[in-house]
């Protein structure tokens, strides 16, 4: 609604909105603050001003071998996403531009596989991983994460591709473009923004996955989610170090997330809300 409101009303709304926003953001903010404290400060009671000590970050990186799970997270998230894109781009392309009577059913069925609770297949997947030596390997987890997110990837790409008007592809065909030209000069440049958003959202989902990563790894392939989960036991880290590890685990994805918030709605609702 494009309507002028009085300045006072606007200030009132602004204050209310900021209070709510800061309360919601507070746990993250407080974690970041605590990560910049020393251990003594961290348990000394409520205090929003840290001493800006970076020692916790140093300790986490040196003692707890932070970089290995971090590398694993990157490999799992990026690897599973790229793999999913390789499989999903042709499928979504075909369904969007060459639909058949069954396309809708296929899409709905793909969606239905996403409804299957992970725990329902925990037993067989666990046993398969044990017996095939895939347990605690990156390749095994990349495959699982890829399959888990494949329906979302196909759906997101499909909704983006559908927005590319078919007439433009026909125009290219009339203009003498071969299939290769059509894909190279017309479809790809127009699809890139959609593919990029899909990629971004899927990396976020894969990075934050915390069921299979915990079930199917121990040390070698454990990404940050499994690494952090292991600190649930009391002999784990102390407050400041835990905060530093947490901050490092969420920072990259938080920033990616801020960039992708619009696509998030569309991806997570399978295009039902845009």
């Amino acid at each position: 609604m494009a309507r002028a409101v009085s300045r006072n009303t606007k200030i009132g709304y602004t204050i209310a909105a900021w209070i709510v926003a800061l309360i919601i953001f507070f746990p993250i903010l407080y974690t970041i603050i605590t990560s910049l404290k020393t251990e003594q400060e961290a348990i000394a009671g409520f205090d929003l001003i840290p001493s800006f000590s970076l020692s916790s970050y140093e300790t986490v990186q040196s003692q707890n071998n932070y970089w290995r799970p971090f590398t694993n997270s990157v490999i799992l998230a990026v690897g599973s996403t790229l793999l999913a894109l390789i499989v999903a781009i042709p499928a979504a392309w075909a369904m969007a531009f060459s639909p058949t009577r069954r396309t809708k059913d296929i899409l709905m069925w793909m969606l239905s596989t996403k409804m299957m609770p992970a725990v329902a297949v925990l037993v067989p997947i666990y046993l398969i991983f044990l017996r095939t030596g895939l347990m605690d390997t990156r390749i095994g987890l990349v495959m699982i994460l890829m399959l888990m997110n494949l329906p979302i990837v196909v759906w997101m790409l499909y909704t983006y591709f559908r927005e590319i008007p078919g007439e433009i592809l026909e125009a290219a065909r009339m203009d003498g473009a071969t299939l290769k030209d059509e894909i190279l000069y017309v479809l790809t440049p127009m699809a890139v923004p959609g593919i990029a958003s899909t990629l971004l959202l899927n990396i976020i989902l894969a990075w934050n996955e915390a069921f299979w990563t915990i079930q199917l790894t121990t040390t070698n392939a454990a990404p940050l989610s499994a690494f952090i989960a292991s600190f649930s036991s009391p002999q784990g880290l102390f407050w400041a170090k835990l905060s530093a590890a947490s901050t490092m685990a969420i920072a990259p994805i938080l920033i990616l997330g801020w960039f992708s918030q619009k696509q998030l709605v569309r991806g997570l609702t399978f295009g039902a809300v845009k």
């Binding site: 609604m1 809708k104 725990v119 037993v123 947490s246």
Partner: protein
């Protein structure tokens, strides 16, 4: 563009995704179904035998099973109540003309990007810890006794953590829906003399109905599978007080090595999830045409 060459090419392009998902769906689920009828324990794999309906009967007679079903329902409904009501309120607030709207949006959306184990640990140690948490600091400031959240209110604590994680999702989707509300329709209602509350009940809410449905259904799918938050905070306890169905099955499979029992639980989880899925598919399917 439906020419013959493109049609057969399209079939080829669809095939890998369909085949992969078909395998991913059928093979493990079939195995789960098969295992659910076996006496199969990893500690004693030599003694594997056909169990018939025993695993299901065992689950059915186990008090922990009903407790976990109850906990699952309370967890799902509790989180839905908080996130949907909170989401509507926050979405309407952010939709108002405010200074720094973009930044407010970013702050509100942030918890969604925090991975579940981190979210749970932050709340466990920084916020709800009985001696060092912020809640304890607040209680001490007012001279009250700090609450030991995870010991006294384990399920409520988990509901709070999960609600914090999903509130941004609900807010964002409801906000998106709210922004597509027709301003002229609102003004017409104002001209017709409808007060603010009536406009909310008769225009805003019905307009958001579809988004609210989608929020409820999608969250339910994810909330049925809550796992890491429980693992990191209460481990399902005390007793089974914060064990949901997912966690119970995990316990059976990974801590008791009871493959048959866990598989039977998995089948029950599938049936539960299907109830929700049917409704979700209808809601989403309408959008396809």
């Amino acid at each position: 563009m439906a020419t013959r060459q493109t049609a057969s090419l399209a079939r080829l392009m669809r095939a890998p995704a369909i085949i992969l998902l078909l395998i991913w769906m059928l093979v493990p689920l079939g195995m789960t179904l098969y295992y659910s009828f076996l006496n199969y324990n990893l500690l004693n794999p030599a003694n594997t035998s056909w169990a018939g309906w025993f695993n299901y009967q065992y689950f059915y007679s186990d008090p922990a099973f009903f407790e976990s079903i109850w906990n699952t329902l309370v967890l799902v409904l509790g989180v839905l109540l908080i996130t949907v009501c909170g989401g509507i309120g926050i979405a309407m607030l952010i939709d108002k003309p405010i200074f720094g709207q973009g930044l407010v949006r970013i702050l509100v959306i942030s918890p969604f990007f925090v991975m579940p184990p981190v979210a749970a640990l932050i709340w466990k140690n920084m916020i709800m810890h009985p001696s060092y948490g912020v809640f304890a600091d607040i209680a001490k400031f007012f001279g009250a006794n700090p609450v030991d959240w995870f010991a006294q209110f384990p399920l409520l604590s988990i509901i709070l953590i999960v609600a914090w994680q999903w509130l941004p999702f609900a807010t964002l989707i409801l906000l998106t829906s709210l922004q597509s509300l027709d301003g002229e329709q609102m003004e017409a209602a104002e001209m017709d003399g409808a007060p603010a509350l009536s406009r909310f009940i008769y225009l805003t809410l019905p307009h958001m109905a579809r988004a609210i449905t989608v929020v409820i259904l999608i969250q339910t799918i994810f909330l049925l599978g809550i796992y890491a938050e429980i693992l990191v905070t209460t481990n399902g306890g005390p007793g089974f007080a914060s064990t949901n169905l997912t966690y119970l099955i995990y316990r059976a499979a990974r801590l008791n090595f009871d493959i048959g029992g866990a598989a039977a639980g998995g089948i029950i989880a599938v049936i539960l999830a299907n109830f929700v899925a049917i409704f979700l598919m209808r809601a989403v399917g309408k959008n396809l045409d």
